[in-house]
C-alpha cells in the first residue's frame, strides 16, 4: 500500500535570517557585492566566491525506508525535530523529498492540523462544507455525512453562528468532526488529538480506532502520547535525527524509546537572552538522585537545573519555569511571585528548581517552558520557550487508580492528580492516593 524507499529531505538553514523567504533587495545587494569583490580581486579563485558561509545543510530525513500494508495502523514516535512532521508532509505531498521515493495506492487524507481553511466569519454550516472541500471531500459526500458530522461535534444549536463566536472547544470539535468523517484509504494524522477536553479526545481516539479496524483504513499516526500509540497502533516507527531508529511492534518500540529517553540527559540547545548579556548554556532534568533523565515517575521529585553564563551583570532578574501538557499550562515556579530573586547574576553559575513530588499521570509527555525578565519586569530577557520535555512512566495502579481500562484512559485525562476521597451511597469510603507508592 505504501512503500517508502531511501527517503531524504534536505533543508538549507540560514544563520542570518529567521524567515525562509528572501527579499529581492537582498539578492540584488548580494550579487552587487560579489561583482564588486570580483572586480577588486580579478585573479582570485572562484571557490572563495562560491562558498557561502551563511548557509548550512540540514537533513530533516535521511535514508528512511519502510512498507505499510493495507489496514495497518502505524504510530510514529520520536522527539521534536526527529523528522516526524517532515515525513508526514512528504507523504501528504505538501513538500517534495530531496531523494528517495514513495509509492502509494489510494486516496491520502492528511490531518496535520484541525480546521485548516476554517474562516472565522463564516457559520458552522458554511465551514463544514469549506473544510470538507479542503480535505478533499466532494459536495455530495459532505451532504451525505452532514448530519453525522453535526451530531459528532455536538454543535446543532450553533450551526448558523459564525465560528468566531464559538468557544475554542466547540471550534475544535467541529473541525475534528469534519476530518473524522473523511473516507480515504490512507489517513495521515499529526498530533491533532492534543486538543479539546479529555472526553472529546477519548471520542476522537475511539473514532480513529473504528475507522482503522472496522473500515480497514491505513492510518499513520504521529503522537507524543505513548498510551494513545499503544492503544491505537499495532506497529510503531521510532525516528531519531531523521533516521529510522526502530520499527516493530508498538509495545516494544515504545518501551525502547522510553528507555532511550531515560538515558539521554535532556540536554537542550543553549539560549541567549534577547539583549545578548546572559546565556543559558544548559537546562537539564534530574531525578531524586541527581542523575540526568527525561523520564520521571509519578510522585517522585524532579529537579530542573539551569546553567548560565552572564557576559555582563544582570541585576534583579527573575526567571520562571512552567510545566505544560497537551491540555495547556499545568503549574509553574516564578521567582517574582515567590520572592526568590538573585540580586545580580555575574559570570557562570547554576540555578536549580525542584518540584518535590510530581502529581502527574504517567504515559503522557510534558513540556518544560522557560522564560525570564529583568528588574522592573519591563525588559524581557528570555521569551517563553519550550526548553525540554519529559515523560512520566508508570502504571495506573501505582497511582492508586484501580478501575477497568484505567491504563488506557489515563493518557487522555487531565494530568494533574491530587489525593481525594469518594464517599459512596453504599457507605463505602474510597480514598484515592496518587502517591501511595512514594509514601510507603
Amino acid at each position: 500500500m505504501i512503500t517508502v524507499e531511501g527517503l531524504g529531505k534536505k533543508y538549507m538553514l540560514s544563520h542570518q535570517r529567521r524567515e525562509p523567504y528572501i527579499a529581492l533587495r537582498d539578492v540584488m545587494a548580494e550579487k552587487a557585492r560579489r561583482l564588486a569583490r570580483r572586480l577588486a580581486h580579478p585573479f582570485s579563485g572562484t571557490e572563495s566566491l562560491m562558498a557561502d558561509p551563511g548557509f548550512e545543510e540540514f537533513w530533516a530525513l535521511r535514508e528512511v525506508s519502510f512498507d505499510v500494508e493495507p489496514g495497518d495502523r502505524v504510530g510514529i514516535i520520536g522527539r521534536n525535530g526527529a523528522g516526524k512532521s517532515t515525513l508526514l508532509k512528504i507523504l501528504s505531498r505538501i513538500t517534495e523529498p530531496t531523494e528517495g521515493r514513495i509509492r502509494l495506492r489510494g486516496r491520502v487524507a492528511s490531518l496535520l492540523e484541525v480546521g485548516t481553511g476554517f474562516h472565522p466569519e463564516l457559520t458552522g454550516r458554511e465551514n463544514i462544507f469549506l473544510n470538507g472541500a479542503v480535505l478533499g471531500m466532494t459536495k455530495a459526500e459532505i451532504r451525505k455525512k452532514f448530519d453525522e458530522i453535526v451530531d459528532f461535534a455536538e454543535v446543532e444549536k450553533f450551526l448558523d453562528t459564525p465560528v468566531k463566536r464559538y468557544s475554542s472547544g466547540m471550534y475544535v470539535r467541529l473541525a475534528f468532526a469534519v476530518a473524522a468523517h473523511l473516507e480515504p484509504e490512507i489517513l495521515v494524522v499529526d498530533e491533532v488529538l492534543a486538543v479539546g477536553d479529555a472526553a472529546f479526545q477519548r471520542k476522537c481516539l475511539g473514532k480513529m480506532e473504528d475507522v482503522a479496524s472496522q473500515e480497514g483504513r491505513t492510518v499513520l499516526f504521529v503522537s507524543h502520547n505513548m498510551a494513545a500509540i499503544q492503544t491505537l497502533c499495532r506497529r510503531a516507527i521510532w525516528l531519531d535525527g531523521g533516521r529510522v531508529e526502530q520499527d516493530g511492534e508498538s509495545d516494544s518500540v515504545v518501551n525502547a524509546y522510553g528507555k532511550h529517553l531515560q538515558n539521554t540527559n535532556g540536554f537542550t540547545a543553549s539560549l541567549t537572552s534577547l539583549d545578548g548579556r546572559i546565556k543559558v548554556e544548559q537546562i537539564r532534568l534530574m531525578d531524586g538522585e541527581g542523575r540526568a533523565t527525561s523520564v520521571c515517575s509519578p510522585g517522585s521529585p524532579v529537579t530542573i537545573e539551569i546553567r548560565y553564563r552572564a557576559e555582563q551583570p544582570v541585576r534583579l532578574p527573575y526567571l520562571w519555569i512552567g510545566i505544560r501538557s497537551q491540555f495547556g499550562s499545568l503549574f509553574a515556579a516564578n521567582m517574582l511571585l515567590d520572592g526568590a530573586r538573585p540580586g545580580v547574576l555575574e559570570g557562570c553559575g547554576t540555578i536549580r528548581c525542584t518540584f518535590h513530588s510530581l502529581p502527574l499521570l504517567p504515559n503522557q509527555m510534558y513540556r518544560v517552558m522557560f522564560g525570564g525578565r529583568e528588574a522592573d519586569g519591563l525588559s524581557m530577557l528570555f521569551k517563553a520557550t519550550e526548553v525540554t520535555h519529559f515523560i512520566v512512566a508508570g502504571s495506573a495502579e501505582e497511582m492508586g487508580l484501580k478501575g477497568e481500562h484505567a491504563d488506557s484512559i489515563m493518557g487522555q485525562s487531565a494530568p494533574v492528580l491530587l489525593p481525594y476521597t469518594w464517599e459512596l451511597p453504599d457507605g463505602r469510603t474510597v480514598p484515592v492516593n496518587p502517591f501511595l507508592q512514594v509514601q510507603r
Binding site: Y21, I94, R103, L112, T116, E121, A133, Q214
Partner: protein, 285 residues
C-alpha cells in the same frame, strides 16, 4: 458503513501515486479537475467573506467605479476636452472602467493570494493554481455590479448597444487571462521574494495612466499605436469599447492582436514559472 462506500473506494483504489524529487506529478491536470469543488468553495468563501465583513460591501462596489468615472469625465472630458468618438463621455469612461477595475483588483488580490493562504499551503495538498484563480473569480461579482451600473448609465443617456455586445464574454475572458497570468506570476515571485508586494500597487497605479481608461486609445498618435498595444489592457479595453459602444467605434486590429499575444505569452510563462516553483512553496512560504 463499509458497503455503502464501496463505490468511491473502488474508484480511488485505482489511483497510484509516486512521490519523487523533481517529479511534477503526471496527474497534475487531472488533480486540478478533481479539486474543482475546492476551487468553487474557495471562491464562494471569499465572496461571502467580502460581503459579510464590509457593512457597505455592495455600496462600495457601486461607489468606487462611479466616483472614478465622474472624476475621469471631468478631467479628461471637460478640462482636457479629449474626443469621445461620438458617445457620451461618461459611457466612454465607464466601458473602460469595467475591465480596468476587474483587472486591478484581480491583480492585487491574486498576487497576494499565496501569502494570505499560507496556512493552507503548508498544511494540505491541493493544486495550488486554485488559489490565485479563485482570487480572480471573486472579482466577477464586483464586475457584475459595475455592469448593472453601466446599463443604468446607458439607459440614462438613451444609448442602445448593437449586436457587437455579444462579443463581450470573449473580451472578459481576455481580461481574466491577463489578470490571472500576471497575478499568478507576481504571486509566485511574492512567495520567494517578499518585496514583490510593493511592486503590485505601483503596477496598478501606473497602469491606470498608461491604459486608455480615461480617454479613447484613438488619441494615441498612429505611429505609436502598435507600441502602445504591448500593454495587454489596451487590447482588452479597446475590445470592451468596441463591443459596448458599437456604431462609430473602430478597432485597431494589429494592436489588438499584439495585446492578445502578449496576454497569452505572459500567461504561459507565468504557468511555467509557477509550476517550476510550486513544489518548493511549503518550504519557503
Amino acid at each position: 458503513m463499509a458497503s455503502k462506500d464501496l463505490t468511491t473506494q473502488g474508484v480511488n483504489a485505482q489511483i497510484d501515486l509516486v512521490i519523487e524529487p523533481g517529479r511534477s506529478f503526471r496527474n497534475y491536470w487531472r488533480d486540478l479537475w478533481q479539486y474543482r469543488e475546492l476551487f468553487y468553495f474557495l471562491s464562494w468563501r471569499d465572496i461571502l467573506v467580502r460581503y459579510k465583513q464590509t457593512a457597505i460591501g455592495v455600496a462600495w462596489g457601486i461607489l468606487r467605479p462611479l466616483l472614478t468615472m465622474i472624476v475621469f469625465t471631468i478631467i479628461f472630458g471637460y478640462l482636457a476636452k479629449l474626443p469621445s468618438e461620438g458617445v457620451p463621455y461618461p459611457v466612454l469612461v465607464f466601458a473602460a472602467m469595467l475591465p480596468w477595475q476587474f483587472f486591478s483588483s484581480s491583480l492585487t488580490e491574486s498576487s497576494n493570494s499565496f501569502i494570505t493562504n499560507a496556512n493552507m499551503l503548508t498544511k494540505i495538498y491541493f493544486p495550488r493554481l486554485i488559489v490565485p484563480a479563485s482570487a480572480v473569480i471573486v472579482n466577477l461579482v464586483d464586475f457584475l455590479i459595475s455592469f448593472v451600473i453601466l446599463g443604468v448609465l446607458m439607459a440614462w443617456y438613451r444609448f442602445v448597444p448593437d449586436v457587437r455586445v455579444l462579443a463581450l464574454p470573449f473580451f472578459l475572458g481576455m481580461a481574466f487571462l491577463a489578470s490571472f497570468g500576471l497575478g499568478l506570476w507576481l504571486a509566485t515571485l511574492n512567495v520567494k521574494y517578499r518585496d514583490f508586494r510593493y511592486v503590485v500597487p505601483f503596477i496598478v497605479q501606473f497602469g491606470l495612466y498608461i491604459s486608455p481608461v480615461g480617454f479613447s486609445s484613438s488619441v494615441v498618435p498612429g505611429k505609436w499605436r502598435l507600441l502602445y498595444s504591448i500593454n495587454p489592457m489596451v487590447g482588452v479595453i479597446d475590445g470592451f469599447r468596441w463591443a459596448i459602444l458599437g456604431g462609430e467605434t473602430r478597432m485597431y486590429w494589429p494592436g489588438f492582436l499584439l495585446s492578445a499575444m502578449v496576454t497569452l505569452i505572459v500567461f504561459l510563462l507565468a504557468v511555467r514559472y509557477f509550476r517550476a516553483t510550486e513544489r518548493k512553496f511549503a518550504d519557503i512560504i
